[in-house]
Symmetry: D2
Subunit: 498 residues, 4 copies
């Protein structure tokens, strides 16, 4: 490319505005390479060219245009750059006409009328968006989420027996295990992976023209226009709405469902990040962030080490979650379309990028976290005598003692007031004492040692990890098979073209 002013196409990354562009995506070569084929404007144009090419292939398929056009358009599409399309757009003030002109000028004049034939701009754009988000989700987003899910499963199993005090309202409740606390996220993340998987498979394309009634395609004799639409979309691995109904737009709900699935999964990540942040609090200290040699925690407090990966994830959630409202507003478009979604739709790839980045931050962050088992034990011991209240009350109730709850609460308050041991108080009580002497050895042991009171936590960990490992294996295998199919289809199309 030429060496003109920076406004041509090269820009200093730090002159960009979006932190995605200068920092989270633009500053991380691996992340950039993984995402650029889907989320950049270059990608957007490449996807639209793929749709234009699929349209021409369908024209050839139905004998509407000579088969040589397919090869010519394919060659043209390979050459076209985003820069060139933008230059043309500055002339014609229309982004798709610009794209079309860039193709047209590369092919013989007698074939130019076949380019974009029957299509309205939004046939190309909506179809390209669907394809782009579908492949982004299949090729990057879901594999990363699945990887993180596997990491969580590993940790949950590893710590399935690790005693941890359960906390409700920030107060010590009754014990659980650290592995069980993690398996809560294994399950929630698993359900979101399924939701994202379902939604991305359900994205749709269209080729029904300016008002969705197949006006233009109906000019083609004797053809059911939805068959032509199917031919175009199937080449891209897409389908239309069930009955090919549309306006100028694909029904917005398909994309809305995906945006929702991603956003609701983002909340699960944010919740996880919050839990980690709380566990690394100085006073709790059950987890510790391990830092690299030269890493600085604070510019003025040399002793600080901060859970910044987890703060970052929560912060990104705060940035991206409200954008769901934009999508809800974009579900509304007057009549056959009002185009007040033109700018806002362009911002959608940011959500997917921010989300993928958050997954990577969490995954990377967890690798640097060390579990402080002794602090878990110490924290448990702070209240181990008090939390006996629940099993004590239930054991009494199982012994048919009628006011088990109230009596236990009274003794519990007394023990807190006096700093005495609750179980001792109960055993010394003239009514409760005799009852307690009758209970089973297992119950006795548990009341003596409330660390035994972890219920079925380890069993739930096993069940949960087994189930979700199976589920994500199935999804993962299917995604890989689909990726392979997509590559084959592309090769086949190309072979036929040549």
């Amino acid at each position: 490319m030429t060496d003109e002013s920076m406004h041509d196409h090269m820009i200093n990354r730090f002159d960009t505005i979006s932190p995605l562009d200068y920092r989270y995506y633009g500053d991380d070569p691996g992340f950039f390479e993984a995402l650029q084929p889907y989320v950049s404007e270059t990608a957007n144009i490449r996807y639209m060219l793929r749709v234009e090419l699929a349209l021409v292939r369908a024209l050839v398929h139905f004998g509407i245009c000579p088969s040589s056009v397919e090869f010519q358009v394919e060659a043209a599409c390979k050459e076209i750059t985003a820069e060139e399309v933008y230059k043309e757009e500055h002339k014609v003030h229309h982004n798709i006409r610009a794209l079309v002109n860039c193709i047209r000028e590369r092919i013989p004049i007698e074939h130019r009328s076949y380019v974009h034939l029957f299509a309205t701009s939004n046939d190309i754009m909506d179809t390209a968006y669907s394809l782009r988000y579908k492949e982004l989700t299949r090729n990057v987003l879901l594999p990363r989420l699945i990887e993180f899910e596997r990491e969580l499963i590993f940790l949950a199993r590893k710590y399935k027996d690790q005693l941890q005090i359960g906390r409700t309202h920030g107060q010590h409740a009754v014990p659980t295990t650290f592995g069980y606390a993690l398996s809560w996220y294994v399950s929630r993340l698993g359900s979101r992976i399924q939701a994202i998987d379902s939604a991305h498979k359900n994205l749709r394309g269209k080729l029904s023209g300016a008002v969705g009634a197949f006006n233009a395609l109906s000019l083609q004799d004797n053809a059911d226009p939805t068959i032509f639409e199917s031919e175009v979309l199937n080449r891209l691995g897409l389908v239309a709405s069930p009955t090919s109904v549309s306006t100028q737009l694909v029904e917005p709900e398909y994309l809305t469902d995906l945006v929702y699935a991603v956003t609701s999964c983002f909340s699960v990540l944010a919740n996880f990040a919050d839990d980690i942040r709380n566990l690394v609090r100085t006073e709790i200290g059950e987890l510790t962030d391990c830092y690299e040699e030269h890493q600085v925690g604070s510019s003025t407090m040399p002793h600080k080490i901060n859970p910044k990966n987890f703060e970052n994830v929560k912060s990104l959630w705060k940035e991206f979650m409200p954008r769901m409202m934009t999508m809800f507003m974009d579900q509304i478009s007057e009549h056959q379309r009002d185009l007040t979604n033109s700018a806002s739709l362009r911002f959608q790839p940011e959500l997917f990028t921010g989300f993928c980045y958050a997954v990577s931050r969490l995954s990377g962050g967890m690798k640097k976290i060390s579990i402080n088992e002794s602090r878990m034990q110490e924290n448990f011991e702070m209240t181990k005598d008090k939390i006996v209240a629940e099993p004590l009350y239930i054991i009494l109730a199982l012994q048919k003692f009628p006011d088990a709850y109230d009596v236990t609460m009274r003794l519990s308050r007394q023990s807190q007031r006096e700093g005495t041991n609750l179980l001792d108080l109960a055993e010394a009580d003239p009514i409760l004492g005799p009852i307690l002497s009758e209970i089973s050895p297992e119950h006795k042991a548990l009341l003596k040692d409330s660390s035994l009171y972890i219920g079925d936590a380890p069993g739930r960990v096993d069940a949960t990890c087994d189930k979700w490992e199976l589920e994500i294996d199935m999804i993962s295998n299917r995604l890989k098979a689909e990726q392979k199919d997509a590559v084959l289809r592309e090769q086949l199309d190309h072979a036929l073209a040549v």
Copy 2:
């Protein structure tokens, strides 16, 4: 009940704050009766009592408590009023303990310890919420939506051939039919009905105790605690999370999915309302609101008749759509629970009520709308000569004329500038004229009369209405069968209890 001050339990409806309470729900007896069993605080308490009762039944089932307790608790639950529970709550400062106390004081002292045994408050609350929203959706919300969908299907079919100009950007584009414009909503609403149906079936309960690890239930010898949980939930027509994983909370994503499905459907309703509002604009006038004899349109302009039903629906969408953000924030709860969702969860029934009300307003509103076919024709005729541009360009392209688009645009601008007829210009053109003389009679006729250029609109109407009629019939039949089952289960439980 006693006749004390109004703060006891009776309140002047106009002293309430929520427009739902004093106006939309409280002021409409039919709507009130339909919704009160699900959305009121009375309903909330009734549902929690049902869960407490199911828990006792399970205790009996497993032989943990004597079978007479079931009958005693059932009788108690029938008597308990919301007022009474609130009075008790004022004493103990805990809503579920208050509920439990109200049951306990009605049964023999020796059986009291079985009430609420093994349960934490939120086992009751989350399970009751799920049950409540499930039955509300199944019994009221979905049937109303389905009825509205049927009305739309009827209208779409009726007007499937009714010519209407398609509008993009508010500008005349190319023709469609009014029925096809409606079938866009048939399809979108249909997909939302499916989404709401899926989400409501997927609501879950729990009985896993204070931190979700089945700590209390594990005190019961030799029992897999998840079997006990299943027994309780199945009696209510519910299940637990796939592997019975939880914290103090059911995974929030199940409810979030339903709230999303409803909210995204609300956007479809709002879009529909906007389209209607635009079509009744004085200058467009394709639809007219028919008013009753004494109805006032404006307090100062006696000639005004306003599309207030449709304005109301849009306005309710503006009120309720942002509340999805509250749900996203409520997905986040620290550790085993932080209870910062205590108040916000209480507001959730408002969304369902507002949504049901909007469906009724739309449905009622559409019944008063008359379709002004002559205005549709007049509006079409405003631009019938100009919109020929699209078929003209495509027909030329199909004749292999290379610059069909650009030439047509040039002529189109010329015709607008000069006020001349585009087709005349094209036919008079030395290059285009000969080409146009070669085209098929069908194409000729269509260029002469652009009202023929409606594509496959009627065909799409048929396909769409047929498909969705079938789909909603299936859903509707299944819902009815489930309602019947629920009644039978309740009767059976009762019979066993007696």
Copy 3:
């Protein structure tokens, strides 16, 4: 009133949907009495009647109607109930026409044409809304906020010297005092009180008719119609937009500003509630919730005491904060008005109610909080040796030691790794040792005892409390004077009328 069905006007409070109605406002007699005159539908109607009356008074003032009408309308307004207006609305399907009819039927036929003369419905409604929110803010919301601010000032001063470890990222940073932590909220709340005060004073009314051009009023000969508008509004303590510009609506920004001021203040309350919740965590324990004798903390864990007031405030914030989006959407209204704000505006009083309730919960909650000074000391001592890192590095830097930060970080990490004392390490260091032996006695003492390292915390407390005490005294006095004025104006109007 008659004793017909409950749908007449009396409703069981627990049959309402909104938790405001059945629980937060409806269940708290004191709160109900304070708020009902502003936030109920009864209040809404009363305020609209006040505007209608002010309009008639202005007609009398300008000699357009006989002075007796004023008295007749005043008497009518006193009698009219919300129930009656709603009954009439069911007939005429227009809320303001219903209101007007209720007045008209109470006055002599020959005077009826003066009622509502020149006004469009929204002249009445928008003016009534402004008046209602103005008086609600002045009479209830600001006084309660100011009272809470005074409580915070008291606490901040009381604990201005109470050592507390400062926490950033949840990690121990350097010390502060508990009083200073509170004065952060004194200042933030103070600034929000000013913002709410400014916004509520700036609410506006209008009397410019159906499209805001004073069309109707201009039928009155020789009069500048804005003078008439001023006369009406001034009687209510309001003014119009600066140049009396309007459409059917008052410029929505005046109300938006108030909604924003309240919402941004709500965030400050939520932040405060979060801080308290964290400080009562079991592991931190610097604050403790004191509970009443019979209060239950958990329905299954008798030992639990939870910070439920503070959880409730955070939860209410989650419910109400997103509603700001509704207000932003309601800023948009097509042309002279589109009425898609009709329902959403009716929900606005809920924000004010929820906010007032949150202030009361916080204020009440703080009264039950006890400060655990020994836990503050213990927590500080956890890291007192480590946090020396910051003063150590700065003292070294002040001694012109060039790499003070890096060296201190290195030693700090070493001390953490080895479990040794940072200051000992520094003093033992061959380079740092000699430097440290040269520092001032004050600096030496501070490095030995990092509890001295609280900076200017007490001084900032004094300055902050002094300033804001003065500011809120001024606001408070002005509000009281305005309340007195309002009463006097009302009495005067009445005297003139009689």
Copy 4:
């Protein structure tokens, strides 16, 4: 700079994700040049360097460090690039420590300890943010808004007498003038300019250290640390919070207020854009978009010309309005700070950029709009006979006819049913006829010609335009004076440094 991989610092603009970066800002050289100094990451780093420099200058001022350091740091700051800072950050994993290191390595080793002395990272960051947004608002955002306001004032005056039918509910109401409709926006935009102006002046900085208690600064003997803070901030044209209270953060409300002012102004722009879009609807046609020669309106419909500037503005509003929620969430930060605002704060410049862009689009869009006076007249004439209803009813009422409204409504409906003329019906009425024969000639004329019924529209235009012209002149002059002052201060500082 070196010529390494693209991940160094140069990036293909079309490989960015944000539409701001590749399209709205990055693709528009003029816009880029105007905004880059404020909204880019380069700008962010430049502003932070300015704060570091101001800090060193204050150290010199108070004799804490030698005056030569100021010159050394100033020289260093000029050289430092964003790229370099990011490279260093990759090593130390801390953005501000990286910045500090870049300064330090450029100055003599014996002076390095003065760099960043007493400061915590966020002293630099929050102060730099405030300064950046203040200067962006003062230098770019407000001047552009003011220019647009002037354009609106010009148009409002030009069309102050241009008859236009007023529309409420999309229905013809009573007449107004096009100039008056515009002056509604003159006033609303004027009030928002004032709000933005107030908020930007009120942004604050801080230099109070890690927990806001001036811990570090208090190590400096005998100094009131707030004086030192003032010295630093005043050099930047900023002040601290009233009593210098802070945590690690400046009180977030100052920025929240500005974000709100901008967002609420954005809604006014969106409302304006909606009104324009409606007026260019084919059926209304009162405004027309004038297009350039080669501009394409649709890729398939050569006849289309679309209001895309106005659609774009509405779309941007949908994108940016919900982000206010992020700011509300960022008001909340635990204790002395939790850093979950680290990422979200970085996205804030996007709002300002999107807003500035929207102002430019609107301003540019309005220049291409032509006003179609004949269509305004035609549209008015559609209902000119019907809208007489309002003046007719009021004139009757002024004649003391008691049921003026109801009678007029009845006749109005009759006229609509029968297609007859309302005034004719009224004059033919045995009761109304005689009354109408008595009314003033002016009223008679107005009833005959409802185009006279425009009230005080032209007078309100004059008053509104005069007022706001004055107000914005004052603001504009003040802003220019402040810009001049800022340049002088910078020069003076530099002179002193050299």
